[in-house]
């Protein structure tokens, strides 16, 4: 695959997110057990691991989406650009504008395509007038690699698109608020192979502007799109390193077992 290309520019970028000793409890469940990780800017970082290993939970810590789940307690330190996002002074609303998120199932709002994309910029007040908003929407749709398909029907409902188009619309919606980090929670699990290929191609392009963190349980996908890979198992971060290395020469025996299909 494209291991060779990922090798060269992965290491160059500076650190965007630093997590130290992160624990998550859901009621009595200890879901994340002391995770330390540094995520680089303008890089695609993949979280892999068997179901229930905590990779999605950890992802949701990065934009404090866990706050919306009653009973979830997060301890430890997560810094984005040197600011602790669990500091009481941080408003999660403001944080989430900076850390966008794309979900497992495409979830366009029951609104027009245009309104779906304009939703974020409107609530964050990113446009001064209609022309600017139009511009933002168009730019986002182009970045979402869906502009050509929908430019003639911007006011058609977003729910009328195909699954792959819907997911790219959701990506466009997320990038429209100009985030610095994009979190993707198994973005292709509900898509067919062709749509998956389109979304993966898009993810690779997004690397130019954003720091992308993607959770996936397809190891092939992790190998295809990411430069760095973190392997989670039972709430622990087992191994973290460059994607090529993880897949060809893992240090931990559990990683090797998972990759070779013996666990998970």
């Amino acid at each position: 695959m494209n291991d060779m290309r990922t090798m060269d520019n992965a290491v160059l970028n500076e650190t965007k997110i630093t997590a130290r000793d992160v624990h998550v409890h859901y009621g009595t469940t200890h879901a994340i057990k002391g995770v330390d990780v540094d995520i680089a800017d303008r890089t695609v970082t993949a979280f892999i691991g068997p179901s229930g290993c905590g990779k999605s939970t950890f992802l949701r810590c990065l934009n404090r989406m866990n706050d919306t789940i009653p009973g979830a307690v997060v301890t430890g330190e997560i810094k984005i650009d040197e600011a602790d996002i669990y500091d009481p002074r941080v408003d999660p609303v403001q944080l989430r504008a900076k850390v966008g998120m794309v979900f497992q199932k495409p979830n366009p709002f029951p609104k027009s395509i245009y309104d779906n994309v304009a939703y974020g910029p409107k609530i964050h007040g990113l446009a001064r007038n209609k022309a600017e908003l139009d511009e933002i929407v168009e730019k986002a749709l182009r970045r979402g690699a869906i502009w050509d398909e929908v430019k003639d029907r911007l006011h058609a409902p977003g729910t009328g698109l195909s699954g792959g188009q819907q997911q790219r619309l959701c990506i466009a919606r997320a990038v429209a608020t100009e985030p610095e980090i994009l979190l993707m929670d198994e973005p292709c699990s509900a898509l067919d192979p062709i749509a998956t290929a389109q979304v993966e191609e898009l993810i690779d392009e997004l690397r130019q502007n954003f720091s992308v963190v993607i959770v996936t349980h397809s190891m092939q996908q992790a190998a295809r799109v990411s430069q760095r890979t973190a392997f989670f198992h039972l709430g622990n971060l087992v191994e973290y390193g460059e994607t090529g290395k993880i897949f060809t020469n893992p240090e931990d025996s559990r990683t090797e077992s998972y990759i070779s299909g013996r666990i998970g």
Binding site: N63, M65, T68, P70, V93, Q94, L95, R96, A97, K98, G100, M101, V102, F103, K105, N107, P108, F109, P110, K111, Y119, G120, I123, H124, C170, R173, A174, T177, L183
Partner: protein, 393 residues
């Protein structure tokens, strides 16, 4: 007459009268005799009634005998048929089950039967009414003044106006409160709060309407008069008496809160969590998410819920009978007493109404109107709600 016959039966049974004596007793003495047997008769017994009663006794006696013979005969015939049919290759289970299935189907048909009953009862009597009173004057008349002596004016408009006005006030109370309560319970409230607040609110729906009627008549009405009446706290003098559109509307609104909130709560919960996550993930606050994503998505269902509540308000009887007053008038002042279709159905049909007079029959025409309006609202509302549910299934 039947009472007399029953009384005679009792008397004969107790041995105070013999059959022969009953036949010979003068009619005047019968009443006294019956009274002593504990059978009160409304009027003096005429010879004709006495004879009728005696005849009744005779034929019902014959009837009893005939019934006995018929039952025994049927039983014997059944037994014979059963013995004849009992062969090794006869699948009794199948026959029994066919019969049982027939019973089940007829039970299910009772639902249709009662609808047919409602429609027939309403239609026949309404036609009868329109024979005596012109339909155009009923539907477009602006005066409602029935008098059993004749010369009534029976225009439905003042009643419809009262009904709609009260329902409107009720919805103005119930929809915002119910909807906001539902939003809070569905989106904000902690599980524990929800666990006790929801059943508490639903208690309001379990309280019989007569209780609300009494509450309107004896508590809310006087309270409103103290506020809005002559020499009240606000010194406005808008209200003449405790019974008014406002009284009934306000209390009906309280009754409807749980209808709106329960249905809306279900509907809001049916909005997929992924939409909320999507909006929150973009950095929207909870209220922005609710107003701009959840409520628009839930809107059709909420409209259905409001229509159901409206149909409930229009058909509500006890609150308006006790709380709204009896005067049929077309007025804009919500502090005036007005009356409704349902209240007038009650007042035209209670008491010793003569069912052939237009003043009594008009109740059936009112009932027909009420039935058609509420049915239309229900059909539309249920259709909307069902389509909404399918959308997210």
């Amino acid at each position: 007459m039947q009472r007399l016959a029953a009384g005679l039966d009792a008397a004969v049974a107790r041995g105070t009268l013999t059959n022969a004596a009953a036949r010979d007793l003068p009619p005047e003495a019968l009443r006294a005799q019956m009274a002593s047997q504990g059978v009160a008769l409304g009027s003096d017994v005429t010879p004709a009634t006495r004879d009728a009663a005696l005849h009744w006794r005779r034929i019902s006696g014959t009837g009893d005998l005939a019934r006995g013979i018929a039952v025994i005969g049927l039983a014997l015939a059944g037994a014979a048929w059963g013995i004849r049919r009992a062969r090794p290759d006869f699948r009794a289970r199948n026959a029994v089950e066919r019969a049982m299935r027939g019973v089940l189907i007829s039970a299910a048909l009772i639902a249709i039967l009662s609808t047919v009953g409602i429609v027939l009862a309403l239609v026949f009597n309404t036609i009868e009414f329109f024979r005596l009173y012109p339909a155009a004057e009923f539907f477009f008349g602006t005066t409602w003044s029935p008098s059993f002596g004749g010369g009534s004016e029976l225009g439905i408009l003042p009643l419809l106006w009262g009904t709609l006005y009260i329902s409107l006030i009720a919805l103005l109370v119930a929809v915002p409160i119910g909807l906001f309560a539902a939003v809070y319970l569905a989106e904000y409230a902690h599980r524990n709060v929800r666990a006790w607040a929801k059943p508490m609110l639903e208690m309001l729906a379990g309280i019989p309407t007569i209780v609300y009627g009494l509450f309107a008549l004896l508590t809310v009405g006087p309270l409103l008069v103290e506020a809005f009446g002559r020499g009240g706290w606000l010194g406005l003098g808008w209200m003449q008496g405790g019974t008014a559109v406002m009284t009934a509307g306000l209390v009906m609104g309280i009754m409807l809160i749980p209808f709106v909130s329960s249905l809306s709560d279900d509907i809001i919960n049916a909005v997929p969590q992924s939409l909320r996550d999507g909006s929150l993930g973009l950095g929207a606050t909870r209220s922005e998410t609710i107003r701009q994503v959840v409520l628009p998505a839930a809107l059709p269902g909420i409209v259905g819920a409001v229509l159901l509540a409206a149909s409930r308000a229009i058909g509500e009887t006890m609150i308006v009978v006790l709380g709204a007053g009896a005067a049929a008038r077309l007025s804009m002042n919500p502090f005036d007493a007005m009356t409704t279709v349902t209240a007038k159905i009650v007042s035209q049909l209670t008491g010793d109404a003569d069912f052939s007079s237009p003043e009594a029959l008009v109740a059936f025409a009112l009932g027909m109107t009420l039935f058609v309006i509420t049915l239309a609202l229900n059909v539309v509302a249920l259709w909307i709600v069902r389509r909404y549910r399918e959308q997210y299934e």
